[in-house]
Amino acid sequence: MPRTIKTAQITKTVAKLCAEANRSVGDDIYAALCDARRGETAPAAMMALDMILENSKAAGCEKLPICQDTGMAVVFVTIGFEVHVEGDINEAINEGVRQGYKNGYCRNSIVSDPIRRVNTGDNTPAVIYYDFKPGDKVSITVMPKGFGSENMSAVRMLIPSDGIKGAEDFIVETVRAAGSDPCPPVIVGVGIGGTMEKAALLAKQALLREVGSVHADMFWANAERRLLARLNELGIGPSGFGGRTTALGVHIMTYPTHIAGLPVAVNIGCHATRHKTAVL
């Protein structure tokens, strides 16, 4: 017998995750920001980091969103093979976004058409990705993605001869060109391999990894370490005010790819890179 999950439960969960994700910085990111603050000596960089840390406390105490850009809601849903969702799950998720953004005093930042640009008034629709795995659980992650950082992201279709050096140079160049626009210190999600859109999706999923965690594959762990060192030599610094901390982490995810290709996607996350997960 499949386990039944009602759409009302999904709506309630998504609403809660939207409001909470917008008000709280992850413990991993907060710890990385504190470490960064200890490593800075430039007064402007220290001031910016102090304000960023104070802001996350203020958001918690005053129940205000961390940032006025409460993002486009990106929702990752993983459904167990043995789960039956009763009803329209797409609509249930969008209703959750509607309620969560309203009750959390979040900004409505979505326009219905990218050129004609009329605000939908309730922050829907969300961008939803479904995945399936064994089991009888449903996991839901809400990532409110701000566009200061999203706008500075990039995909490039490299070729095999570009190799690891070509990939690393493209990643560094993307972060350098972003400057202070994406609200550094940033978290850099990288997707390498697959097809164009697969690389982009991996780059976004890579932003969900815990900051400070080490890649399981030594080859990629070394690449991440090299990249983080190079990024922190760019001198952009917190809020673009200069200093040693341009990035808090570089997270790479890979996928098999075609004999002719080397897709590389870079998704930049701001110093809050908000996300919350619940398992039903």
Binding site: L64, C67, Q68, Y105, N119, H271
Partner: protein
């Protein structure tokens, strides 16, 4: 860092005293405006109409605030990326705009306009919208209410922290 206190309306002399890299605590009235409001303001000027506020000597804060929770005048309201307003800023400076507050770099054309009209561009700390909200004492929508978060608000701020990113001589802080 030793702050310079600045209150709007800001005199030409006060602008000329600001140097790239100065740490500023800004108080007084500022108008919000971002992409959609800027587009509309330029359309008004192009059709010979007046702006919804007197631009002479004024300050624009590039932000689209969150709605006000109970007991507050406004929600989170940090700076947005200024680059997106580069296409419109020189025209508004021609009309009298002198102070721009946002985050990130500006175009050559904006830097030229800052030099020509003796304006100033200040960078607030991106992603600290909750703290910014605590520096806002009054908020009132004065135009384009239909744009929601992109409407023009008149905000009264107190000691909003920022750094002079481009001074009136066009010198960039980096």
């Amino acid at each position: 860092m030793q702050p310079v206190n600045v209150t709007t309306p800001i005199s030409d002399a006060a602008i000329e005293n600001l140097r790239a890299g100065d740490y500023v605590l800004m108080s007084g009235a500022v108008y919000t405006g971002r992409d959609a409001a800027h587009k509309r303001m330029i359309e008004l000027l192009d059709s010979g109409k007046k702006l919804p506020f007197d631009p002479r000597g004024c300050a624009i804060y590039y932000t689209g605030p969150c709605p006000a929770p109970p007991g507050r005048v406004i929600g989170s309201a940090g700076p947005t990326t200024s680059r997106r307003m580069d296409a419109y800023a020189p025209r508004l400076m021609q009309e009298g705009l002198r102070v721009m507050i946002g985050k990130g770099a500006r175009s050559e054309a904006v830097i030229r306009a800052i030099r020509q009209y003796k304006g100033v561009y200040l960078s607030a700390v991106g992603g600290t919208g909750a703290l910014s909200a605590l520096c806002i004492e009054q908020a009132e929508v004065i135009a384009f209410e239909d744009l929601g978060p992109e409407a023009i608000y008149k905000l009264t701020i107190r000691d909003l922290p920022m750094i002079v990113a481009i001074d009136c001589k066009g010198k960039e802080w980096s």
